[in-house]
Symmetry: C2
Subunit: 300 residues, 2 copies
DNA sequence: CGGCACTGATGCACAACATGCATCAATAAA
DNA sequence: TTTATTGATGCATGTTGTGCATCAGTGCCG
């Protein structure tokens, strides 16, 4: 970048150009008259042309000085505006926040947090993106998103992870199914039942979580079928081909041709965590965490 | 005007923001790394918010820093442009020049100077104004015009006056007139001749000059009539009511019903001078003087 | 796991620089 | 002429920015 001469003294010149009197201006700037005189000299020397014609009795702007004054008054206004804008970003009063979310957060957690957040910080632009848990980890690491709702638990030294909710899991069955007769369903009741799940590509992290839960109870998961979308899954269950396991947040989206019962077990729950990079200390993220935390706590 | 913090160091920040590496940037700026580090610290402190996130391994812009960078890159471009514009005015490559002229310069001197000037300095805006000699003195003193063609001589410590031409005077007579029979007309021949002149309001300085010339020769000027416009003057002379005295530059505009003869006398001439304020050192004026001088010299 | 290279931050001494004071020359007003 | 006010300037001083040396933190490589 080319060196721009005299930048430091432009403000001084502008002040002087306003009342065209060294002593008065110097006083206004809490400066000695001589210092002001030298600043202007230095500015002119740096620029290579005169800005002011001075006699001992009166000071006037040269034509170049007039032009320089008008243009730079505008430049300084722009600079002031730039500071204002940057500060507003720094204080989190504006700026951009990129939020990723996965299916379980899409129905309640994320939307209600979003609502509150927009009310509290209307000047922050929010960009929402649906990304599954694994993808979020990459996106966060790359800096493509600022914060993500993912399936927990998540633990990594580079990231903050805040658990927002822990929702019960439900077994989804056809309308008449032997399990429905039981007063209370526990994990052990599901042993040997044919289970229909979304395929790995779609359900990924959730399936790993289910596997963990069942194997922790010593129960083998009998995956009878895989479905590639929710409608098909619902249909297959309704047709009696097996059961499936759904988190609470999604059961409202099942059809009327299936029944749901909560799986009563303290660890049979799906945890949703809010994750962001430790190195990302942007105030937008801080502000969003504040809001999401409150929403999460009342939901869990 | 509000104080704008950190202006001095914005350029430094912009340079740093470009490659996000203190050592490399410092080297590029011929600075020690520590000095750069402190400049940025000072800038941030002045602004009150961080512009860069620094770990020992990598430097990145905060969101506020990004915004600050983008905005101020533009601001610095504007400043650069402001310098360029002011310099171009200072060097006389652009700007405004206000030129006043009186009738004798309107036919040849001013137009041909104007032509040359426009070719040499096409970026300088010229504003032309017809003002008679006396009015020009006031306009120049007020700064309403930069330079004027007036009837000379003119001498005043506050002004530069450059004589551009010295044109012979002509006596204007009806087509048949006793004077025309003489092989050569001298001022003494005009003694006792009834003379028709423009009125004081229109001819002002020129009439004073004629009075001077005649009285210097000991000849009384017999003003028989006054005319308020050139056509009337021409008509009155043609009708035989008297003669009049015209400068060379205007005789081409007389009708065919009059005759002209040069008045042969070294001091019977009309001088046109170019006048401008000594305090006005604007390059536009200098440039115009250069051109007008050349035109004037070849014309005189 | 242990050097190694490279990062930005910091303590310190020094030099450069801007500042304030006193004063000057020029000029307008009284 | 006197007086007051203008901007410029010489000089001593205090502030400030700079460079050098060094530190602590971190990724890389064997």
């Amino acid at each position: 970048m080319k060196n721009l001469p005299g930048l430091e003294n432009v403000q001084t010149f502008l002040a002087l150009a306003q009342d065209l009197n060294f002593r008065r201006t110097a006083e206004r700037l809490h400066l000695d008259q001589s210092a002001l005189s030298r600043r202007i000299q230095k500015l002119e020397q740096g620029l290579g042309f005169r800005l002011l014609d001075r006699t001992t009795r009166e000071v006037s702007l040269t034509q170049a000085g007039q032009r320089f004054y008008q243009d730079n008054a505008e430049v300084m206004r722009s600079y002031d505006e730039a500071i204002r804008a940057a500060r507003s970003v720094a204080e989190g009063k504006s700026g951009l926040l990129r939020v990723a979310y996965m299916a379980f957060a899409a129905t309640e957690l994320m939307p209600s947090a979003m609502l509150r957040f927009r009310q509290a910080h209307p000047h922050i632009e929010v960009r929402l993106e649906y990304i599954r848990t694994q993808g979020q980890k990459i996106a966060l690491a790359n800096g493509d998103v600022d914060i993500g709702y993912m399936i927990g638990p998540f633990d990594h030294p580079d990231f903050h992870a805040l658990q927002l909710s822990s929702e019960p899991l439900y077994v989804v069955t056809p309308r008449s199914h032997p399990l429905l007769l039981r007063p209370k369903i526990v994990p052990a009741d599901l042993a040997g039942q044919p289970v229909i799940l979304g395929n790995m590509r779609e359900w990924e992290e959730y399936r790993w979580r289910l596997n963990d839960l069942f194997s922790a109870e010593g129960i083998a998961l009998d995956v009878a079928l895989e479905a590639s979308n929710t409608l098909a899954l619902n249909g297959l269950v309704a047709a009696g081909l097996g059961i499936t396991i759904y988190p609470e947040s999604l059961i409202g989206f099942l059809g009327r041709n299936v029944e749901v019962r909560q799986v009563m077990h303290p660890s049979f729950r799906s945890r949703t965590v809010l994750v962001w990079k430790r190195s990302n200390r942007s105030p937008q993220v801080q502000a969003f965490v504040q809001v999401a935390k409150q929403i999460g706590l009342q939901a869990s």
